[in-house]
């Protein structure tokens, strides 16, 4: 994994310089990407760095909004960190680029209520189809 080349690719995709930040704790690189540049960043990584492995998508609460982490493997771990807000919060779907995201995005939608625009079939994956109530990871108290 060539960090400088990846920075260049992601910089072009975001039309602004980006910096790969090594985690202090382990050998993984993190990089902040604006949500509008997410698809361009993924396309760039697939075109120039042979990206095909999306390990998973993690969502977590961050103040009023969410952080969504796209964990990738390019011979080394790389995570794209995207901030997401709005009501309902939404992000562009990456399914058409990385088909495996189909289920990962459904899971994040189930548990956090984040919508993925352009997803072919955003129905519940883990929750029952007739689930009512807030997304389980956002509920204040567990029953």
């Amino acid at each position: 994994m060539d960090a400088t080349a990846i920075e260049r690719t992601l910089g072009q995709a975001c039309s602004a310089p980006v910096e790969l930040l090594p985690l202090a704790t382990c050998a993984e690189l993190f990089v902040d990407i604006p949500s509008a540049s997410l698809l361009a960043a993924m396309e760039g990584l697939m075109r120039e760095h042979d990206l095909y492995h999306l390990t998973t998508i993690t969502a977590l609460r961050d103040g009023d909004g969410f952080l969504v982490l796209y964990h990738l493997w390019l011979g080394g771990g790389l995570t794209l960190r995207v901030r997401c807000s709005g009501a309902p919060p939404s992000l562009p779907s990456v399914c058409h680029l990385l088909p495996v995201a189909e289920w990962y995005e459904r899971e994040v939608h189930d548990l956090f209520g984040i919508r993925f625009e352009g997803h072919p079939n955003l129905k519940p994956l883990l929750l029952p189809e007739d689930w009512v109530g807030p997304p389980p990871m956002l509920a204040e108290e567990t029953p």
């Binding site: 704790t25 993190f30 095909y52 977590l60 289920w103 519940p124 883990l126």
Partner: protein, 360 residues
């Protein structure tokens, strides 16, 4: 010909765990299929946020009844990274020993399940009989057959005496001889070939599209193994070969898994022969400074991923796990069309699914 839909599951004799597969068939040919999960979702990611770092070790161990040690290894590694803890060398070796014993018993369990699905009951019995030898070893080492509780944050809880080392080495030699029988079977047996050769072929493109991992990816020619590519615990000081095949069918998967079992025996023998002296664990703090960490472990079914985030308290702010079965299930959905209905059982069994892992 008229199409009809056959529901398999959530409760079905073919399945060991609840999973729903809707199979569209036209005559004897499968023309489509949909896989549904969520029947054993327990909300473990949320539960992890309500327990302390130490308590979570016991919780994540209960995600899976087969690769429980892989889960605790990945979780402990992520938390140790957050804490900046280096585990003692002896602990790293014992972790590898348990990981490899687990891989052997998981692969033999799979062989038994596959054999049963293709009507080869004798092999099912033999594979599960020999798997008991490994489960006995794990029980003697840790006290548990399934939940071993061998890992703790900072190291391991179980030790191995010099007498146990000798005994385990003897039994591993005996086990290795047993494995020769299965190797011969996969290479030579014609009825096994007829049910597995060329069945459920998965191309390398499909492996890439669905980010497949582990033995199914390696059986389609994808040369990845985190034990070699991103070594953890003591793997960087041990010798083993990464097994790949290029058929992508059920037979290639059987070949990869059996050869891997032999490599695992080799790894166990090295650990026992080279086991360093020293402590079993480093003392772990109760609170963790804010930060985030990632751990990737090669579990029996492939890459197991953990992400842990700390907010400075004694409980994690977020624990995320991605188990290898999740992408495998999605890939399975797209492998079904084109199969003969009689081969569906072999293909589902050949995928080595762990639904409890996928649902969490």
């Amino acid at each position: 010909m008229t199409e009809m839909t056959i529901p398999i599951g959530p409760q079905h004799p073919l399945l060991k765990e609840p999973l729903s597969i809707e199979l569209d068939v036209s005559g004897e040919r499968v023309v489509g299929g949909r896989v549904n999960i969520g029947y054993v979702h327990r909300g473990i990611e949320r539960l992890c946020q309500q327990r302390t770092y130490a308590q979570n070790t016991a919780l994540v161990e209960r995600i899976c009844g087969i690769c429980s040690h892989a889960h605790t290894t990945a979780y402990c590694q992520a938390v140790e990274s957050l804490m900046g803890l280096a585990i003692p060398e002896r602990a790293a070796y014992i972790r590898v020993l348990m990981c490899e014993l687990e891989r052997i018993h998981s692969h033999l369990l799979w062989l038994g399940v596959l054999a049963e699905a293709i009507g080869f009951t004798t092999i099912f019995m033999y594979a599960w009989r020999d798997r008991e030898m490994i489960l006995d070893m794990m029980e003697e080492l840790s006290g548990g057959r399934i939940a071993h509780a061998a890992n703790i944050v900072g190291g391991v809880r179980v030790d191995i005496s010099p007498e146990q080392v000798e005994l385990l080495l003897q039994r591993l030699r005996a086990f290795d001889e047993q494995m020769a029988f299965f190797r011969e079977l996969i290479d030579r047996d014609r009825s096994f070939h007829r049910r597995t050769l060329g069945i459920g072929r998965v191309s390398l493109d499909m492996v890439h599209a669905y980010s497949m991992v582990g033995p199914p990816a390696r059986a389609s020619g994808c040369d990845v193994d985190l034990r070699r590519d991103a070594p953890y615990a003591a793997y960087s000081s041990l010798a083993f070969d990464v097994i790949t095949a290029d058929g992508g069918d059920v037979w290639s998967r059987a070949q990869v898994r059996l050869q891997e079992t032999i490599q695992s025996v080799r790894l166990c023998q090295q650990v026992l022969q080279e086991l360093p002296e020293g402590d079993l664990a480093t003392r772990a703090p109760r609170r963790v400074a804010p930060g985030e960490a990632v751990a990737r472990v090669e579990s029996p079914r492939g890459e197991l991923f953990y992400y842990v985030r700390s907010d400075g308290s004694d409980r994690p702010a977020r624990v995320k796990m991605r188990t290898p079965t999740l992408p495998m299930l999605l890939a399975l959905q797209y492998t079904l069309p084109g199969l003969e209905t009689a081969d569906v059982a072999a293909v589902i069994a050949g995928a080595d699914l762990c639904i409890a892992c996928a649902d969490r």
